[in-house]
């Protein structure tokens, strides 16, 4: 498979109140982003367990992005602050293990930021596409 043809698998965890609504707004405004991005709705970014992220990589994801309300705007007051700490540590650990740091990302996208959602996804897909297939966190059994 040449790099040009490579279509990454991207899992996006979006909090219900801000980022999922932001993604909806991107849709309302027809702000396109690659179809490689598939969104999973979670009540809050703090619902995202590091296990979900690793599981996505295991099953063949090439990139995982978590989107939540901006700090201070969490629907549940503090959920995204915990997310921020958890992901800071997890991403740093993945980097320490030699996993490409561009494969994981945490972004704050409000319900009003359809444009930001689309732009973020475009950038993320581009970055992951440039990296190519996820080889360092792959489970060979899940490959064809």
């Amino acid at each position: 498979m040449s790099m040009n043809e490579f279509k990454p698998k991207i899992v996006a965890f979006c909090c219900n109140w801000c980022s999922y609504a932001g993604a909806d707004l991107a849709g309302n405004n027809r702000l396109s982003y690659p179809a490689d991005v598939k969104i999973i709705r979670v009540p809050c970014s703090c619902r995202v367990n590091p296990m979900f992220i690793l599981r996505a990589f295991q099953k063949g994801a090439d990139g995982v992005i978590i989107c939540g309300c901006h700090p201070g705007d969490c629907h549940y007051t503090s959920g995204n602050y915990y997310t921020r700490r958890r992901m800071a540590l997890l991403f740093s650990m993945l980097d320490y293990l030699g996993i490409e740091r561009e494969r994981t990302r945490l972004e704050w996208v409000s319900a009003a930021e359809g444009a930001k959602f689309s732009q973020t996804m475009n950038e993320f897909v581009e970055a992951v596409t440039a990296l190519g297939e996820n080889k360092r966190l792959e489970d060979l059994r899940c490959k064809e």
């Binding site: 063949g60 489970d139 059994r141 899940c142 064809e144």
Partner: protein, 341 residues
């Protein structure tokens, strides 16, 4: 009997590798492990490998079959790989003895075809233990580390390696190696073997006795109150079972790959809480019961069902690796009473 100088071992390995893949102990960060020989690979001088040689026939994880799903259709795929001949060099007497214990499990009816395919294709070159360690107690199980057996038996003495075929397979194997080996006096290794036996007699655990154990004493040992304190601080990890050359329990599990199911087996450990978990639950719910099971199996149940053969070969790995230094020797000494005091 053939011989070759220790310095020319790599020539021997190269010759073997010319006909079949060769595996031998190699030093690594963990200690010694079996690795495939490639030019430049150094044979480890360690007495024994970190993990036992059972992995050759009974690997920790083995894919058995796969189910490929397409919508609601299922296709069954056979994942058995074709096994060709391969050689293992450097197997110690204890590990070699463990193979015959494993054979009793995997080769009796119903025969485990995965195991058998590998067993049939292996040429085993054993090595006598010139420097047995303080943790060794194979003699307790009547294993002679000076004459380990196998297809070909090696004794290393005075810079030479003496190779003697012990089976027809071994003879054919040695014949192929005549170009790199020289003929030797049939009795050249005997002096070293005698020395080895002397050394074994002087080991700290040389007097360990199995007399108190064996078949026929099931209930006596099962109900022994000493299990409580022996097992009290067991962590319930699986280290002893995973480094043990004779532990042969496994679990068969299915893994959902998203495109189907991969069925594999992997080592299990009687130390684990979900070992033998069945529909109704678990039959051994306390660590004491699980701990007891492991040692009862090796010292009582196995000999009872196998003409008095114990399920331990005295390799000493569990003595070296248990996080809390609880091990079969301590169990034997505690339960064996006066015999082992």
């Amino acid at each position: 009997m053939r011989k070759i100088s220790m310095d020319s071992l790599s020539a021997l390995f190269e010759a073997i590798s010319g006909t079949m893949p060769l595996f031998l102990p190699v030093d690594g960060k963990e200690g010694a492990s079996y690795k495939k020989w490639e030019p430049g690979t150094e044979y480890s001088k360690a007495l024994n490998t970190n993990k036992s040689a059972k992995d050759f026939f009974f690997p920790q994880v083995e894919n058995m079959m796969a189910f490929k799903t397409e919508g609601k259709n299922i296709e069954v795929l056979d994942l058995k790989e074709d096994v060709g001949p391969f050689a293992i060099f450097g197997v110690r007497a204890c590990d070699l003895a463990s193979f015959s214990i494993l054979d009793r499990v995997f080769l009796s009816d119903p025969v485990d075809s995965f195991y058998k395919a590998r067993r049939d294709n292996a040429v085993i070159i054993s090595v006598a233990c010139s420097r047995p360690q303080e943790t060794c107690f194979c003699s307790a199980f009547s294993i002679d580390a000076a004459a380990p057996g196998g297809d070909v038996e090696c004794v290393m003495a005075d810079g030479m390696v003496y190779l003697e075929a012990k089976t027809e397979k071994g003879e054919a194997f040695l014949k192929n190696l005549e170009a790199v080996t020289e003929a030797s006096d049939e009795r050249a290794a005997e002096a070293e073997q005698a020395k080895i036996r002397e050394r074994i007699e002087k080991l700290p655990l040389a007097n360990l006795s199995t007399d108190a154990f064996g078949g026929g004493k099931t209930m006596e040992y099962f109900n022994n109150p000493l299990w409580d304190e022996l097992s009290a601080n067991c962590l319930g990890c699986g280290t002893c079972t995973f480094v043990c050359p004779t532990c042969q329990c496994y679990d068969i599990k299915d893994y959902n790959t998203g495109k189907g199911v991969q069925r594999f087996r992997c080592w299990d450990s009687c130390m684990y809480s979900d070992f033998t978990k069945m529909a109704h639950g678990n039959i051994r719910n306390s660590q004491k019961e699980r701990f007891r099971q492991r040692f009862m199996h090796k010292l009582v149940y196995f000999p009872e069902n196998n003409e008095g053969i114990f399920g331990c070969v005295g390799c000493g790995r569990c003595l070296a690796k248990c996080p809390i230094s609880m091990n079969i020797v301590k169990v034997m000494k505690t339960l064996g009473g006066a015999d082992n005091a």
